[in-house]
């Protein structure tokens, strides 16, 4: 699992996930982005674009074993450096999300999208 990146958590997020000390992420390349730009995919709205900065599924309720959600997300293209854009939102509650990831489109729920740390841009 990739340790979360530093920076203040988004207002809507549980605080525990982002307050851990970051370590160098093995297998990932770049330096953590500047703190203020970092938020979570689940907090973005339609039309917003971002770049994936890391994955942290520790605060997401899931029936999967630990680390499994992260692996599935990587398999579906949600990996550090991927360019994402919120294309469409479901109804009601603007959930789930249709997210463009590089060349393909993925549907996922906001709850799980909170496991994806992104840098706006």
């Amino acid at each position: 699992m990739i340790p979360p990146l530093p920076g203040p958590a988004h207002a809507a997020l549980p605080s525990t996930a982002t307050r851990q000390t970051p370590g160098p992420a093995p297998g990932t390349s770049s330096d953590p982005p500047a703190g203020d730009d970092c938020c979570r995919l689940g907090a973005l709205r339609k039309g917003q674009r971002a770049v994936v900065a890391g994955l942290d599924d520790s605060a997401v309720a899931t029936p999967l074993p630990p680390g499994e959600l992260e692996r599935r997300m990587i398999e579906m293209g949600l990996i550090e450096g991927a360019r994402v854009e919120i294309l469409h939102e479901g109804f009601p509650g603007a959930d789930p999300l249709a997210v463009r990831i590089n060349d393909h489109t993925l549907a996922l729920r906001r709850a799980e999208a909170h496991a994806v740390l992104v840098t706006l841009g």
Binding site: M1, I2, P26, G27, T28, S29, L55, A61, T62, P63, L64, G67, L69, E70, R71, R72, M73, I74, E75, M76, G77, I79, E80, L87, H88, E89, G90, F91, P92, G93, A94, D95, P96, A98, R100, N102, D103, H104, T105, L106, A107, L108, R109, E112
Partner: protein
């Protein structure tokens, strides 16, 4: 990179086997159809219920080759029973099935970033691989330029561009298959790739589940390969984005989906009416022919009343099932099915179901059997079980003859609401709605009791829209027809004979009055059940008809005809039977029977497929108990409430 030679080429005698592997939505099935045409069949893998699609073709060099179409997967880390089959076949873990000699990995050329990781994972197995670079036409139209030669060099596997849906590139693929098989017989190890060695702890079969770290390394490798082979990334499909802007719109999306479903149900009943009539007439003709040709006796009774009437009563639903599957195939191949799951995820989530449960539930309106089988695509076991348990509550087409008969007999043919709505149609709609609402309620209860736990995450690709190929739709329909008829010819055939036996033996004594079925085992069972069913208003005739009705609900109509000693068949029977019933039953009894049929755990085929799919008698028994309880309760309430209200 891999120096483990895993299997020796096994085609001394047996034809060489080639497996098609790839992500969902890569055009794998279209490629399978392009290679094999109609020479394909579907069977089940031993021990599991995942369908195994096999076809054959002749390679240009004249070798007869067996082609297996494996369920689509994003990764060898299988999550659903479907994907487990792909993993186990590819790894050679299946007991009764040798691993494929050559794997043809199909990848969407417009989406290589996502699809190439699976190719790398498969390459590590060290078996011969060919990469079919599919949907090249779409890629070119979008300005995406892939250098196949550079890709082949970077990957270290042969690459063949194809457009499966138009059957182009198939010749090149066939030639490459020949070359790969020759290379394999020469026992050449696979050509070494230039990939960095990211081997995790390899197990004996050369594969172990990759960690998140390994997956990231695969992705980096993919990026490196794409840097060498992707000349131009192209633009994403603008058309798809525009269509989605409308079809996934918060205000338009759901109404449009319901409109599509409404049209589909209209078609299921409207388009299927004529062929169903023809099958009905044809069966009547065969029955009459057999009746005239054979002397009176047991053999004649078995053939006409047992086999022809019994199997015929199931075969008659073939047109409806085909119309339904036509729509399902169209929705799937255009890419709209994933959108339907997207739109419904939130609503279905309200009762704890996954958006993907939509497809099994939709299929169950034709017949619960394909519906329950479609639940295989649901990854989480608890979600899958919950879906299976509620699927039979959807009003399947076999309930229709019963509904039609009783409504015709008891509901006056007049309009309400100022002539806008037919009363009979309104009752029919109410019965459908009762099924859907009770299914949602049952899911709600199940997900909060037995199948507790957070919902499985939704991580679903929304593929680009595309026009389906008529040929692929036709082949898909043929496959469904074959599966359905095979079932009617085996399981249902056997059950029909058993029920005919119960209904015919022992024979009525000489000089007995009343219908013969009254004296048979079925009659005895019916009489034994009658006291139990009296509180819900059922007559003993209904109790008897319910016994053969276990085979298929609509058989209950024929059985009622037998009990009331009517000799007509088909439409004539329904017509005159309605009159007899209207005279014999009270309205509360009729309403109670309708309520019963909404919930009753019927048809043995459904129960047997539940047993097979869940691989347990337990879940089948749970279904019988909970649905019987619902049916009895609903019929009880309906009978007594309507008795009080109607003053009966």
């Amino acid at each position: 990179m891999s120096d483990t030679v895993l299997s020796t080429p096994a085609f001394m005698g047996a034809p060489p086997r080639i497996a098609l592997v790839g992500n969902p939505n890569c055009g794998k099935t279209a490629l399978f159809n392009a290679l094999t045409g109609a020479r394909q069949k579907v069977a089940n893998y031993p021990g599991v219920t995942v369908e195994r699609k096999i076809g054959e073709f002749l390679s240009p060099a004249g070798t007869r080759v067996q082609l297996v179409d494996l369920p689509g997967t994003y990764s060898l880390r299988a999550r659903s029973p479907d994907e487990e089959v792909t993993r186990d076949v590819v790894l050679g873990r299946f007991q009764h099935e040798a691993p494929p000699d050559v794997m043809v990995c199909v990848a969407d050329a417009t989406n290589l970033r996502l699809h190439l990781r699976l190719v790398l994972e498969l390459k590590k197995l060290g078996r011969p691989i060919i990469l079919a670079l599919n949907m090249m036409d779409v890629a070119e139209a979008r300005g995406c330029r892939v250098d196949a030669a550079a890709l082949s060099a970077a990957l270290g596997v042969p690459v063949v561009p194809t457009v499966a849906i138009k059957r182009t590139g198939v010749v090149g693929l066939l030639d490459q298959i020949d070359r790969s098989m020759i290379a394999m017989t020469a026992a050449l190890p696979p050509s070494p790739g230039n990939a960095p060695d990211i081997t995790p702890g390899t197990s004996s079969c050369g594969w172990s589940e990759p960690s998140a770290l390994d997956l990231r390394a695969y992705h980096q490798e993919v990026e490196a390969i794409l840097a060498a082979a992707l000349r131009d990334a192209g633009r994403p499909s603008l058309a798809t984005r525009r269509i989605d802007a409308a079809l996934l719109h918060p205000a338009i999306g759901l109404p449009f989906l319901f409109l599509v479903l409404f049209l589909m149900f209209q078609a299921v009943f409207a388009w299927a009416a004529v062929p169903m009539d023809m099958i009905d007439k044809g069966l009547g003709w065969v029955q009459a022919g057999a009746g005239a040709a054979l002397p009176d006796g047991l053999l004649k009774s078995l053939l006409t009343d047992g086999i022809i009437a019994g199997v015929g009563s199931v075969v008659i639903f073939l047109p409806q099932i085909l119309v339904l599957f036509f729509f399902i195939l169209m929705l799937e191949s255009t890419g709209y099915m994933a959108r339907a799951a997207f739109l419904l995820d939130r609503l279905m989530g309200g009762v704890g179901l996954h958006g993907r449960a939509f497809i099994p539930l939709l299929s169950s309106f034709a017949c619960a059997v394909p519906g329950i089988m479609a639940a295989r695509t649901i990854e989480n076991r608890a979600d899958r079980l919950a879906t299976i348990m509620i699927a039979p509550l959807m009003t399947c087409s076999a309930r229709l003859p019963v509904y039609t008969l009783i409504i015709a007999a008891f509901v006056p043919d007049r309009t309400v609401a100022g002539g806008m709505i037919g009363l009979q149609g309104l009752v029919m709609f109410t019965l459908y709605a009762a099924g859907i609402l009770s299914a949602l309620a049952a899911a709600f209860v199940l997900k909060r009791t037995i199948f507790k736990g957070a919902r499985e995450p939704l991580l679903m690709e929304l593929p680009s829209y595309r026009l389906p190929s008529p040929r692929d739709i036709l082949l898909g329909l043929l496959e469904r027809a074959r599966i359905f008829l095979a079932r009617a010819g085996t399981v249902i055939f056997a059950i029909m004979i058993l029920l005919w036996f119960l209904g015919s033996f022992p024979a009525a004594p000489d000089g007995a009055t009343g219908p013969a079925i009254d004296h048979s085992f079925a009659g005895m069972l019916g009489h034994a059940l009658a006291p139990l069913l009296a509180p819900i208003g059922f007559t003993w005739q209904i109790a008897i008809a319910l016994v053969p009705g276990m085979a298929a609900r609509e058989v209950a109509v024929a059985a009622l005809g037998t009990v009331y000693a009517l000799s007509e068949t088909g439409d004539a029977l329904s017509g005159s039977l309605a009159g007899v019933l209207a005279a014999d039953w009270s309205l509360p009894t009729a309403l109670s029977l309708l309520a019963w049929f909404v919930f009753a755990p019927q048809c043995v085929s459904t129960l047997s497929v539940v047993k097979r799919e869940t691989n347990s008698w337990f879940w089948m028994l749970v279904m019988i108990v909970y649905m019987t309880a619902l049916a009895y309760g609903a019929a009880f309430v309906t009978f007594h409430l309507s008795s009080v209200l109607l003053g009966g």
